[in-house]
Amino acid sequence: MGEIVHEHLSSGLEYGVTPLPDRHVVSFQLRILAGMAGEPPQTLGLARLVEETLDKGTVSYTAQGLADAFDAIGAGRQSGTGRETMTFTCTVLPEHFERAVELHAELLQRPMFPDNAVAINVQLAKQELVALDDDAHGLVDKLITRQAYGPVAGRHQLGEHETLERITRTDLENFWRTHFCAGRIIAAVAGGIEPRRVADALTRQFDGFGNSRREGREALTIEFNPRTTHHDKSLEQEHIAICWPGVDATHDEFPVQQVTLGILSGGMSGRLFTEVREKRGLVYWVSAWQETPRGSGMVFLGASTTPERCAKTYTTLLHEVDRLAEDITQDELDRAVTGIVANQETRGDATRSRCMELASDLFFFGRPVPIEEKVAKVQAVTIEDIRRYLTLHPRDRLCVITLGPRPLVSPGAPAVKVTGGVVR
């Protein structure tokens, strides 16, 4: 592996490259520092509509012409809209890298937002909102996110029916004009390519693209709302989501949080899988995970079970969190650490994973973070560190969502019952 490169171009664009000379593909991600949090409240769903419509006609290409141009180089690409950013990710053979960047520059800098494409995408977003109602996990995710993060950071990418109705082509164009510029782009590249080629391509394609000031890098404010809410729905299972505030990705305690979650849910020997599924047979799916918007962190527990087992599952989940501070063993700690470290190595064999790793470092830390540095921090975590973390970040204020046919009946968790139309 060559040395990781990290630079800012005069256009304002920030980029990093992890050269992997023996690889036969290149993966890159262009991250635009604009997301759902930047939507006007009356036009929720706007950011994703922008993302979906950017490639539906540009100055030089029709929608299908652009898709054909990407296919001509065999580009495997995805895009997504988050609360803080939009991402455009692409994997190509190295000889097609420059062309892939050129085509992305075209859709990011010269979109036309044709009226018909805007109307169709609004129509599709409304249909996808209906489809979300058929996806229990997606729906629970939407509900817990809104409750846990508050009205801005807790937005859903599809918006709401009534806000989608209001969105016009002008809204899309204004959002794009305000947020799309080189100063708000972070590019991460990994694979079989020389850093010089990356710099040349990004310079050629993004020089002079709007504002060069480094904007959009401020932390997001969240409004945590601890309460228990039940959402009635005719389902086979009751779907449970629980969360409470944790630490953000740059916090000194972040590696401790990572290891703690590893002990809870890192593998099949994790406490949740062991206690909830293996010993009691309460669930098929149970998990713990974290989310880290810039400047904040949230710890989640989730499980799905049939309604008569819901209360027992809920109390077992929380009991396992509470028990952590009392009886962690060194062997558990070692397994959790090994899981995180080994994962870096195995997944690191995939170029796309290396690109995502770099993209995450640039976004959260503003620099590439050597794998050795991350590994050393995880390996340094002790049982005492975990006990301290659990004391400083207790699960004493919980946000709980249940979705299914029956409210959660559990001591200490009085449910606010919400019925009908809650997802709109």
Partner: protein, 418 residues
């Protein structure tokens, strides 16, 4: 009998008990993946034991003569393995992806699991887990749709029942019945050990001899029988979901057919990304999701064209699907369309070549379909051979402009049943 080909990175070896060992050397990587492929799945079950293959897969994690379930889980996690298992209609797979230094430990653990004791005291607890999995599946529109489609298209054949089985068959199933199935199907002459990564083949073969060499073969198993593919219309009306899924199913070729890459390309042109369905159904605002899929087994295959839409738009969505299917058959696809699909396939093959786990899954497909591993170059040659002419010939043999089988699942009783 070791067969090493200097031109390829593969080593094939068969133990005296019939266990086949397949190894792909990947010198440039830091990890390795190992898996046991057992040639058994839902289609090998008798009706009263529907779901036994999948339930057995869960029970294989529950203990051996050497390890409790807790030991198994802990030993996987001590290596930091990325591991799991899955059951389909025609295979059951157990795998682990580890740092290259741990591949010996990984193979030992997987091999020990293959000699499960199916602990009786874990049977009921795990049955509850399966019942939860079935409940979860019933809350998922596409699972419900797919199970219903298989049930009706393959009616009268084991491919008709869900891999998870039914509550009634699970409830009645005993540990003795499962044990008998296990003894018959998990024999070395019905299994393969497949390894990919930065490994030394002779060491892997030695590991296989040490950990699997004493397993007793069970002799030939009954051959599978290809299913009928039924025509007609079947509706499952359910108020659980707000959308309606409509699907058309047509007989097609098996995964072993030399035209399989052509069939896959045809499905991509019709219903993949940047496809005819995308531009003429999704981007016309008719349905947020529409696609085409080639579902294949070693002895049969079907093409499925589907869309999820608002219930009141079923008629126009189905008409649009049929129009595009008709165009595929009646008008030759352009070389431009073919080339686009082939280019994407080339990139995906390059990605697949990078990581041991990706290669492991492909090797499993290759061994089942061709009886031998295939190099990326061989796969690329198959991709290169696809053309507008091969697609025309394939669609002539496996038309999708006929009535086929129509499945409809959702809140609307459409097409109307009597």
């Amino acid at each position: 009998m070791i067969r090493m080909n200097e031109q390829t990175p593969y080593t094939l070896h068969t133990l005296a008990n019939g266990l086949r060992v397949v190894i792909e050397r990947m010198p440039g990587v830091r990890s390795a993946a190992a898996g046991f492929l057992v040639q058994t799945g839902a289609r090998d079950e008798v009706p009263e034991l529907a779901g036994v293959s999948h339930f057995l897969e869960h029970m294989m994690f529950k203990g051996t003569a050497k390890r409790t379930w807790g030991d198994i889980n802990i030993d996987f996690d001590r290596m930091g393995s990325t591991y799991n298992a899955f059951t389909s209609e025609d295979r059951t797979v157990y795998y682990g992806w580890v740092r290259k230094a741990d591949i010996g430990k990984q193979i030992e653990l997987l091999a020990d699991m293959m000699q499960s004791s199916l602990p009786p005291d874990e049977f009921t607890t795990e049955k509850n887990v399966i019942l939860e999995e079935i409940a979860m599946s019933k809350d998922h529109l596409e699972h419900v749709m797919f199970d219903f489609l298989q049930e009706r298209v393959f009616a009268g054949h084991p491919l008709a029942w869900p891999v998870l089985g039914y509550e009634r068959t699970l409830a009645a199933m005993t540990r003795d019945q499962m044990w008998a199935y296990f003894q018959r199907r998990y024999a070395p002459d019905n299994m393969m050990l497949i390894v990919a990564g930065n490994v030394k083949p002779d060491e892997i073969i030695q590991l296989a001899e040490t950990h699997c060499g004493s397993w007793k073969p069970a002799g030939p198993i009954p051959p599978r029988i290809a299913p009928p593919v039924h025509r007609g219309t079947d509706v499952l009306q359910t108020d659980r979901f707000k959308q309606q899924v409509v699907a058309l199913t047509f007989p097609s070729i098996a995964s072993t057919d030399p035209r399989i890459e052509t069939a896959s390309a045809a499905a991509s042109i019709l219903g993949g990304e940047n496809s005819r369905f995308y531009w003429n159904i999704v981007q016309k605002g008719l349905a947020p999701r529409a696609g085409a899929q080639h579902l294949d087994y070693t002895d049969c295959g079907v093409t499925i064209l589907y869309a999820a839409c608002q219930p009141d738009r079923c008629e126009e969505v189905l008409a649009a699907i049929r129009t595009e299917a008709g165009r595929m058959c009646d008008e030759r696809v352009s070389e431009h369309e073919v080339e686009r699909v082939k280019n994407k396939r080339r990139t995906s093959l390059a990605v697949e070549a990078e990581a041991p786990y990706y290669r492991l899954t492909q090797l499993m497909d290759d061994m089942e379909d061709y009886g031998a591993p295939r190099t990326i170059e061989e796969s690329l040659a198959d991709v290169d051979a696809v053309s507008a002419n091969t697609i025309r010939d394939y669609l002539k043999a496996c038309p999708i402009n006929i009535l086929g089988h129509l499945t409809s699942v959702g809140p609307r009783n459409w097409p109307k049943r009597n």
